[in-house]
């Protein structure tokens, strides 16, 4: 499988990356080169093989359903590019 400029533009939109046409053009052969290389995995017989999801055997733990943090609004907002009235501020979303 290889990608063309339109597909790369679509992926960039999914990834929320504003890429110019020249960047898109540069990326097409780069991505195809990498994708072509990873496709050698097609040679591997994986019939009946379970996908690996946990590399070391571990069990997800449960904890008591009690509040264990919070009350740190100012800490959370401290690094925000724009914080107003105790909220993250962003450009207008609703016209």
């Amino acid at each position: 499988m290889s990608v063309n400029a339109d597909q790369v533009r679509h992926v960039a939109r999914l990834a929320r990356l504003a890429l110019g046409d020249d960047e898109i053009d540069r990326m097409v052969p780069e991505l195809n080169n990498i994708l072509g290389w990873v496709e050698q995995l097609g040679e591997v017989d994986t019939d009946g093989v379970e996908p690996l999801t946990a590399v070391i055997e571990n069990h997800l733990r449960l904890r008591d359903d009690v509040v264990n943090d919070g009350n740190c609004r100012d800490d959370i907002l401290k690094n925000a590019p724009d914080a107003q009235h105790g909220f993250f501020a962003v450009p207008k979303v609703i016209e």
Partner: protein, 493 residues
Amino acid sequence: MSDLTLKTITELREGFRGGEYSAREIAEAFNAAVVAGRSLNAFTVETPELALAAADAADQARAAGELKPLSGIPLGIKDLFATEGVDSTSGSNILKGFKPTYESSVSANLKAAGAGMLGKLNMDEFAMGSSNETSAYGPVISPWKRNDGGNAALTPGGSSGGSAAAVAAGLAPGVTGTDTGGSIRQPAAFTGISGIKPTYGRCSRWGIVAFASSLDQAGPMARTVRDCAILLEAMAGFDPRDATSLNLPVPQWEAGLASDLRGKKVGIPREYRIEGVPEEINAIWDQGIEWLKDAGAEVVEISLPHTKYALPTYYIIAPAEASSNLARYDGVRYGLRDTPQGGNLDAMYAATRAAGFGAEVKRRIMIGTYVLSAGFYDAYFTKAQKARTLIKRDFAEAFQQCDLILTPTAPSAAFGLGEKMSDPLAMYLNDVFAVPASLAGLPAMSVPGGLDSQGLPLGLHLIGRELDEQGVLNAGLAIEERAGFNHRPARWW
């Protein structure tokens, strides 16, 4: 008093405890070395005042007879770790100015053990790179030079390049690194120091900026195997805030160090004899085999048949996880924001990310987004997860015949800055020996083996069974004792 910056952590600990010198003298010596070493570009932030404050606390603790394991030892911390009140930017413009209001579990553990912090260490942006050249702060320059009389600037390796250069140049006696696909081991090999990536889950990932969560592990880098054992003991431990943290006691790795390998079997994987690898790499590997035999180990040939597929598997899984993890950098909560004139929220996200991420990070986000997208998920991502199962199975089968595996750490010595940046695939291939152990979550370590004909360090790589850091450290110690590697880069900086 001899130069404190030439000493190992073990030696500093002994000298400090024995009253030969104060923690303040140690911190001052390293603070001065950090300043003198600025041309290496190893640090992104210097925190001499934090090193001194910890040193004063250590001196008081010594007077009160309340020493902690790392009292008196100043360390460098990779920029990927969140450090409270100190810029933590992961080598990226998108996090410029980010001062966490919390401390990562691993660096908090080190602090609690009495260690001070000299500063934050330069790295490839979001740990994506093998040469430190993708950093927004510019590349770290290795303290090592070729002996050909030329003055070529070499890479210290990556992504923990600042960490490696700092230890090799004597700017810090020990440092933290992180390893997703070789980022502790390859730079350790390139700079003639030791570094260990523990079993996945030994060190908490809480507060470490996530690259590929199923692979990321923190670990120490230092001059000696014993120093690594000391640091790892302080870094590791169960943390309920990391869902993949292993709820196991931390072994006493330092006390358990023993280089007698009688009764141990060391496997040599035939698939790691790769065509095109310089003869010197295979020669140091053969030398390593002899050293382990000399230490009493029995050497057996083993097979890891899916080795060839480890890198392609990694370069699907790691970018996929990265594209998901890096979705959080959107200009809303921290770091950079770029809002185009009249742009809406979506335009702000896209412009911020385009302005804040470097070329390699964008490339990996694009690959990751593509392999996770509708229609391609099974062909790429699920396929890679299945291949990962087979790679892990290879190791499980090999470990029925041996206790440890020995390989070279990297397929070359350090290369020159700029030599591989134009070819992403050539850069990726540098981690060919390191990546399989990452995919299998196994403990693995690089120790210096010797110098090549150009006078550059070459590393030997030990892989152990899961949770057998002790076995890895012990074999590393056996090599260290026999290699007698005490070369240091001639000081030019």
